[in-house]
Amino acid sequence: MPDLLEVKNLKTGFHTENGFLPVVHGISFHVNQGEIVGLVGESGSGKSVTSLSILRLFHDTHGEIVDGGILYKGENILTFSEKKMTKYRGKELSMIFQEPMTALNPVLKIGKQMRETIILHLGMSKKEAHQYAIEKLKSVGIPRAEQVMEDYPHQLSGGMRQRVIIAMQISCNPSLLIADEPTTALDVTIQAQILKLMEEIQEKTNMGILLITHDLGVVAEICDRVIVMYAGRIVEEATAVELFENPKHPYTKGLIESAPKIGSKKDRLNSITGTVPNPNNMPKGCKFAPRCPSAMPICHEKEPELMADGDHTMRCWLFDEEVEKKGEMQYG
């Protein structure tokens, strides 16, 4: 059986005044049925561009997918007609955006927005769709769902709006849900509720979830497997347990160590020096080398490939057997 989602060597970028600017440089990963995969990275790492590419919402933004394939249940989405894609969006693959304030149409009642998707994809009558929508709102823990159907978005709090959006996105039982920073705009107590809700829904429906976030705490909370991106490349991939307990790539280590932890007695945080490179001016060799505490001469010369150690992959010369043999480590 093919994977639920398989991204193969995806290359995307933007057309700018100064020519084509590549942003995602050939990334490959997969999401299985019933799995929550975290895609982690800082701003500019290409994680949101990746998620937009999967739903093909990328072309309106001067962006272009220049190479690679996105296979959904074995079919390449990139070859779909726009008509077929519309049928898939919301029904098979759906997406939750970061800003619950802007993802809903401010001039339409919640009920109308909920029914729209349901009528379109499930072919129900307006009455049936109305009842069905109320059920879905209840299933995400919205009290007095009947009244909420008559409310406008501005009458609801941020957490409630995000619940409405989740209800809307799961209303047609999609197999894959992409959540792009779903809790970043929310308060920490609401964030905990929404994460718990997503986990419950996932367990009930067995859908696959691709969770995009910059927050490793959120990743630890609900993800089974984690992909770390840096400068448009995957730099490390492993199960959540492996990644948090045995991180390999210096960038992942830095990310984990630079987050303040409650109860730690450390006076200073181990921070990563420098900043994310500008896509216009990428360093030669490993893109992380200028900030890397263990950089070796080869790191500044040649970009490493992804290397596998069982289920754990990383893009770092430190784990290359040849380099190790030559003893380049001693220069590190």
């Binding site: 920490v188 959120v218 199960t239 990644l243 630079s258 303040p260 921070s271 994310v276």
Partner: protein, 273 residues
């Protein structure tokens, strides 16, 4: 760290009117509903709470950016409630702010050196131009911005660098108190730790007192000596950070603490339970 109190708020209140119809009863948002606390010299008080709890309003009340409705603010032993405009100008030298959004808080049309010199030109008129330049350079250097950047504009810097400039801007007048309102919330994790380390170093060097306002409990725990928890305009709990994080008394504090993601993977957590 001395035990002297630098600033004290006594039962301060701020209500914002809500627009209502002509004949309706006037309504108010009780943004800050009578709270009292103090900050000692050289100490960091963290102020946490969720959006809308009044933590930012509290910061702005302290340095007079918005006037209090009632209550008093005592800074260095002086009551600021009836201070004149000129007196406020003097006090504000001693309490500066660092804002959340380093993209919005620096004037886009001013060079970095002018942004930092402006406060000196206003407050330190006796200083020679050379002395001012020297002070700007030294401080930027301490904040990790090289002097080669002096003639650049804010847009040429990254978010983390801008926040460093924002911090330098707040420190240029050698204040006693820094009110930092979500100073690292807009920054990436790797940059956030750089800025937090910088704030700690500067505090040690200049014996600064911080009011550190944030919604992020892990950050507040890292940087604070004492922590106040706000909820709907009230200060529901204030204690040393050890007390707050190990032995919270108020139910809301307990809820907040239990909501923090723990950085322990799901699978591992399930094994532990």
């Amino acid at each position: 760290m001395g035990d002297d109190i630098l600033i004290e708020a006594k039962n301060i209140k701020k209500y914002f009117p809500i627009k209502t119809g002509w004949f309706e009863e006037k309504k108010y948002v009780k943004a800050v509903n009578g709270i009292s606390f103090h900050i000692k010299k050289g100490e960091t008080l963290g102020l946490v709470g969720e959006s809308g709890c009044g933590k930012s309003t509290t910061g702005r009340l302290l340095n007079g950016l918005i006037p209090v409705d009632s209550g008093s603010i005592i800074f260095n032993g002086k009551d600021l409630a009836n201070a004149s405009k000129n007196e406020w100008k003097k006090y504000r030298q001693k309490m500066q702010m660092v804002f959340q959004d380093p993209y919005a808080s620096l004037s886009p049309r001013m060079k970095i050196k002018d942004i930092l010199r402006e406060p000196l030109d206003i407050h330190f008129k006796h200083m020679s131009s050379m002395e001012k330049d020297k002070r700007v350079e030294d401080l930027l250097d301490k904040c990790g911005i090289s002097k080669f950047h002096l003639n650049k504009y804010p847009y040429e810097f990254s978010g983390g660098q801008r926040q460093r400039i924002g911090i330098a801007r707040a420190l240029i007048l050698q204040p006693d108190l820094i009110i930092a309102d979500e100073p690292v919330s807009a920054l990436d994790v790797s940059i956030q730790s750089q800025v937090l380390n910088l704030m700690k170093d500067l505090q040690d060097e200049y014996n600064l007192t911080y009011l550190f306002i944030s919604h992020d409990l892990s950050v507040v725990e890292h940087i604070s000596d004492r922590v106040g928890v706000m909820y709907f305009g009230n200060l529901v709990e204030i204690a040393t950070k050890e007390e707050i994080f190990n032995n919270p008394k108020h139910d809301y504090t307990k809820t907040l603490l239990s909501s923090i993601p723990q950085m322990i993977p799901k699978a591992r957590r399930k094994q532990m339970n």
